[in-house]
């Protein structure tokens, strides 16, 4: 009994170390394929069941993103002018906004297949771009690039660039303007209101 328990523990720790050392491109591939498989095998997800989609995102996608860094990137130089409490609130709200955005889009991905470009990375690099492209039947492929940084918990994505459009920095001038107009708290309020609004289909 104890033996089996030990073996399990050993296996678990092995899996964990494997995860920590997983290369960034391997990580992207594993997560993307896992998510695509899950969508293909689940009618509710394809129909856009929001509760299930959200659960999928929270369990499989979100843990691989560094939302604090994403928020800082979207804020640009204004990040430093925010207090730690404001930074925390901004991160929470921005995270919610991004998860909601993804939730609306994810169910369309059923028929997609992904191609993974070979990663160009030198030993010791802690910041890389993993390039993928999404193929949809009858349409031109869409380039999706993930900017990833090495953290103590393994590689985390901090930007997603779809056909040249960063889902993060696309907000920068909007955030800038909002802060100029009504300060960091104004931006927090704006994000909170947006997130409280009806979930878009």
């Amino acid at each position: 009994m104890i033996c089996r328990w030990m073996a399990l523990l050993f296996a678990a720790s092995l899996a964990l170390t494997a995860q920590a050392q997983e290369a960034p491109d391997a990580l992207v591939k594993r997560v993307a394929e896992d998510v695509l498989q899950t969508i293909r095998g689940d009618k509710d997800l394809q129909a856009g069941n929001q509760a299930k989609v959200k659960q999928l995102i929270e369990s499989k996608l979100a843990p691989n993103f560094d939302f604090t860094r994403m928020t800082a990137l979207a804020m640009g130089k204004n990040w430093r002018s925010a207090t730690p409490e404001q930074q925390k609130m901004l991160t929470d709200e921005f995270r919610t906004l991004l998860v909601r955005t993804y939730s609306g889009a994810l169910s369309n991905y059923r028929d997609n297949t992904m191609d993974y470009a070979p990663l160009r990375m030198n030993a010791g690099d802690t910041d890389v771009i993993v390039r993928t492209s999404v193929r949809r039947p009858g349409q031109a492929p869409v380039q999706i690039d993930y900017s990833m940084a090495k953290t103590p918990d393994g590689w985390k994505a901090y930007d997603v660039i779809v056909a040249g459009v960063s889902l993060v920095t696309n907000y920068r001038d909007e955030f800038n303007d909002e802060i100029k107009r009504s300060g960091v708290d104004g931006l927090i309020k704006k994000l909170t209101d947006k997130n409280k609004g009806p979930t878009p289909k």
Binding site: G104, A105, Q139, G164, V165, S166, D173, E174, P200
Partner: protein, 235 residues
Amino acid sequence: MNSFARSIASTLALACALLAGCATTQSRVDPFEPWNRAMYQVHEAVDGAVIKPIAEGYVRSAPEPVRTSVSNFFGNIDDLFSGINHVLQGKKERAGDDFGRVLLNSTFGIAGLFDPASEMGITKDKTDFGITFGKWGAPQGPYIFVPLFGPTTVRDGTGWLVRIYASPIGYIDDVRLRNSLYGLNYLDTRAQLLSAEGVLEAAALDKYRYLRNAYLRSRRYQVYDGKPPPEDEEE
């Protein structure tokens, strides 16, 4: 300046100030922002009341294979123009793929209704005159939002006019058939945008701004073949 012109100018200035409302920052890329924002609102109103419901009805009622064939048919014409533009951009191999696609899909794919080329692994790669002009060094010019057609720039809009002028559909003599094809083409394009629109709806704090940024960045990305030089920090 005579008094009439002056009064027009001041009326315009007032209108701009009113339209600008919350958006006070003028940007280099979008000098006509107040006007564009007004056009965007016109667009949202008309599109939301008329066009979008029709597009949604089309998606609901037409079976998927039918819609796919419609997209393929117009996509085949797109491929022809992508090929021409890839030639103009000096990408001969890519142009060869485009023309190969057109040849295969127009014959084995029955006038482009099916896409056997993709199944054979010859992928699609869209480009257009706006991108070609950009590669030739033409500046993009001011951003323009055209109601019912969407975001563009002076450069891209010019390319778009060239495309319309040259489109094979324009050479069809039967007026009803020609107009039906234009209409169907528009409907197909609009229907394809429905899902992207959901993302815009979900993501944007200010839809006008989000769309403008996304449009200009993606065009820039294409002009530089996916490797755009870093932008100078805005402001």
